[in-house]
Symmetry: C2
Subunit: 564 residues, 2 copies
């Protein structure tokens, strides 16, 4: 049975949390509650939705058409001003909203945006928050959102208003459960706030509801700190701006420390498993001596030895200049980009599933020659991690490998070798850092707060107009908020297919760092200077008022062709 | 040969750094350069120094009197307003300044304060910055500070203007070198910016110069993020405010993440080796579920098992309430506070200096029974760390022990036991964090920026008046800046002696967390509520303008009897 509208409980499914209302707020948190959120001009007066031309798919349109017979080809839509609002006469709506996947700063503002749209433009509407992610839809666990319930979460970080979850609605039974909830709550619409997977799922749900002739429409919203859900119409995913600024604050502090102390190399691993956008953005914000971009490592088919040598060479050159310190940024997913490491892990998974690791190391002979060499090249601690830390399926837990410590150890070994050869005479001390959880739930920057609010408000407009299978799209982001564009993009137009278990599966491809793109181009043009000269920038803490409070991240500005 | 006054080189001794002038600044950094620094009213008009009564020592005054025959008993001094400045007619001065020990936000502002005092009140004066810490004094490596040189460092973090170092001036030869530098540069005074050790050293230097009839006076300034250099006249050390706010921002973010995700226990180790002030202050700012205060562990003679059980018990109670997440703060120096661990390490140092660690573990029989039990109780990774990671003297490297990971592992083991016993049925996943280097070089808060400026300006006043062996003291800090008091406290009055190698050594005792003090009292009165209910506060990023930008840390306010 669902619990609805208890103002004292937050919407999470992980216990009877007292929620925010019983919390004491810091002065900054309190000040953010009443921070006014400007809307794009087009959302302030009367407006209507205008459809664009029919859409296709990012790849394999024929297969996408088969997978989405009801939605494929539908146009994207744009909000334009009009003399009088044609939907002014429409009645109230019942809408559900769900947070899906990992946290990103600004999620609460998307919900606030939907809510305020309904309050202002569709009086009498009801907004349900599904608790704990998509599982909340399937189990029909929800909370009815009220002004009092939402208020303490305005402009605040985290997803704790209704919490998130990583379940997916995939099987026929699960789709059935979702249908039952939609019918039971008489939902006109559902907003799915999530990353690439969740938006693919949202589109499947939209297709399914349409096929079953349910009235429930589904709209997606682009969320992920990783920054890898974006396209022409969706210039960035929310949370990326805040997370990168939090990490860059810390990196800037560590840089100043490195320069002041003069004796440490700081190896900073940054969250962002699949793509290296976070590492690239932090590099553009702070100018580290080295930043490894996974996509480049993959494109150049580099080995772990290549990466180690690249770092070691710069450390040696710096030592000659008298610098025995520095800051090096490493993307969390680095080893996923190195083919030989993938190969080794695949072989280890196979061998360790069947064989015992004998103390004499005879098991190693089962590795292919190349993998054997790589294994021996790895520091002992990493070797042990590969052999011991296994998930319940017996697989190596790649995410648990502390890449920054591994690189420190490998660089150390290489430097010792060079010392013996007489080609290096500096001092090397590595310090490791991992910045991840610190950035997922920070107070959203002014940019993320405003962007999310517009995404939510726009999602309300799309639902009110009867749209489904679109992702809320706010554009022209390098201009003033007033000039931002608002609309929806056909989710099928972002899709391609992947072959899994003999079947075509629709996927929104992750947007990886483009080596031909402007952000990487700028980085590549400056990194040699950063490597040897110290061009460190300390962005400082995120400001909500005064200088710096209106800054937008470099990646977005460069991609939009603006001056970063 | 010294290099003086190159505006393009920073003052560090670790290479030909291009310094700040060639750096690009972030918008926030730039805005801080021109941030106006208010002075206490007493420093704005005409003022004079008034001496207090003769002073004694913190302990063993007879021994301190023997160690400081020229300085012992001298009064502290206070700046008071006067009709006309009696020193207005005095000439120019030659002053040196040195940064000693680890970085703390605000060091650059102390130097700015001294410089501005000399510019405004002793025209024609010269300020030398000794490079790379006390070694710069001994080697006579310095840079002459000019308005152009200082400007890029105003209100900026780090110590890179002249850099710091950990050398000490201790031996007769080293004192001789310092004398030579003082004579060579014709120094009227020297300001030593440092922690307890550095200020003890400053006092020895003052005594030595006085004894040799040199004109060079020495004034100390209280620096350390650890917050353990303080007394009645010196209510706080600079840097503590900024560092704690940076760590608290991160802790608050991690708390919101914990609540949103609902499945992780975050174990956060915080810098601050000797005392637990940082952990206590961060607890007061953020309200974690658990914070371990080393001084309490020591006072209650707790074992590692006691600490583990305390954490585990709370985790079990929270699981019963439905919470399988939480945030736990741990001071870096925790294991230094646990007598049994100290005993084990002492025995290990002894055994491993002479014996081989045999694979069969026969060596363990040489441990005392209690230590043997403790060793077996430790997680395997920590056992290995104790056996393998040794410094060049063969001693266990206590600082390298990742206490947070050790506790996660021990809690895990204990919870598994309870699961088998049927007394725990929750889910436990630990995430470890260490916040340290991120906080030492942040942009100083408005409080630290202003406090440091007053400390520096006040040090100038003390030197101009011919004072020596005092520590710059700015008080009444819970009031508005205008009402702050300014003066100097006799360093000998802070001292006691310790017996080392059969000799009495003077020491300024570290100010540990007082279990009878107001900050710990407030924490102790609230922690049971924090443990089971979630009272998390997210302080957010440090603000330089608007709400929160004038906040002072809780520890200081509580100790001053003000409402935190």
């Amino acid at each position: 049975m669902a619990t609805a509208n208890s103002a004292l409980a937050n919407g999470c499914d992980n216990g009877p949390s007292p929620g925010r209302l019983s919390s004491v707020y810091s002065e900054v948190q309190t000040s953010r509650l009443n921070h006014p959120l400007p809307l794009p001009s087009v959302l302030k007066g009367h407006f209507k939705l205008v459809d664009g031309p029919p859409s296709s798919a990012a790849g394999n349109p024929d297969e996408i058409a088969k997978l989405f017979p009801n939605l494929f080809g539908q146009p994207s839509a744009k909000v334009v001003p009009t003399g009088s609002d044609p939907s002014d006469s429409a009645g109230s709506l019942k809408i559900g909203v769900v947070l899906s996947g990992g946290q990103a700063p600004g999620g609460h503002n998307v919900i606030s945006g939907i809510f305020d749209y309904l309050q202002e433009r569709a009086k009498g509407s009801i907004l349900y928050g599904f608790k704990g992610g998509p599982a909340g839809i399937m189990k029909c666990k929800y909370v009815q959102l009220t002004p009092e319930f939402i208020y303490p979460y305005r402009n605040q970080g985290g997803f704790d208003m209704i919490c998130s979850g990583r379940d997916k609605i995939e099987t026929p039974e699960q789709f059935k459960q979702a249908e039952e909830t939609a019918v039971k709550l008489d939902l006109d619409g559902l907003v799915v706030i999530g990353g690439d997977d969740s938006n693919t799922n949202a589109c499947l749900l939209a297709e399914n509801f349409r096929q079953k002739n349910l009235k429930t429409r589904v709209i997606g919203c682009p969320k992920t700190i990783d920054g890898d859900l974006k396209c022409k119409e969706v210039p960035t995913s929310f949370g990326f701006d805040t997370a990168c600024k939090i990490y860059s604050e810390m990196i800037g502090n560590v840089m100043t420390d490195a320069r002041s102390t003069g004796k440490y190399y700081h190896f900073v691993r940054l969250m962002g498993r699949a793509a290296s956008h976070i590492t690239l953005e932090c590099a553009l914000q702070t100018h580290p001596n080295i930043a490894i971009i996974g996509e480049e490592v993959a494109a150049k088919k580099q080995t772990l030895k290549n990466v180690t040598d690249y770092i070691t060479n710069i450390i040696c050159k710096r030592a000659e200049l008298g610098y025995n310190y520095g800051v090096i940024l490493i993307p969390e997913g680095l080893i996923d980009f190195i083919p030989e490491v993938q190969q080794l892990i695949a072989e280890l998974n196979e061998i360790l599933a069947h064989d015992v690791v004998d103390k004499e190391g005879l098991w190693k002979k089962k590795l292919q020659h190349q993998s054997q060499l790589l294994f021996e090249f790895l520091p002992q601690a990493i070797q042990e991690q590969l052999l011991l830390e296994r998930d319940p399926h017996g697989n190596v837990q790649v995410a648990k490998i502390e890449t920054e410590k591994m690189l420190i150890s490998m660089v150390e070994t290489e430097l010792e070798k060079r010392k013996l050869e007489g080609t290096y005479s500096g001092h090397f001390k590595g310090q490791s850092h991992f910045f991840g959880y610190e950035g997922r739930c920070g107070l959203p920057t002014n940019f993320d707060a405003t962007y999310c609010y517009a995404l939510g408000y726009g999602a309300g407009v799309l639902l009110r107009s009867g749209k489904t299978g679109l992702i809320s799209s706010v554009g022209n982001l390098s201009a003033a908020v007033e000039e931002w564009t608002v609309g929806g993009t056909a989710l099928t137009s972002l899709m391609d297919v992947e072959r899994r278990h003999g079947k075509f599966k629709p996927v929104i491809k992750k947007a990886m760092v483009e080596l031909e793109g402007a952000p990487f181009g700028k980085f590549a043009s400056m990194r040699d200077e950063w490597a040897l000269k110290n061009r460190y920038i300390s962005p400082g803490p995120i400001q909500f008022m005064g200088p710096g409070s209106g800054d937008v991240n470099h990646t977005l500005l460069l991609e939009l062709g603006a001056q970063a």
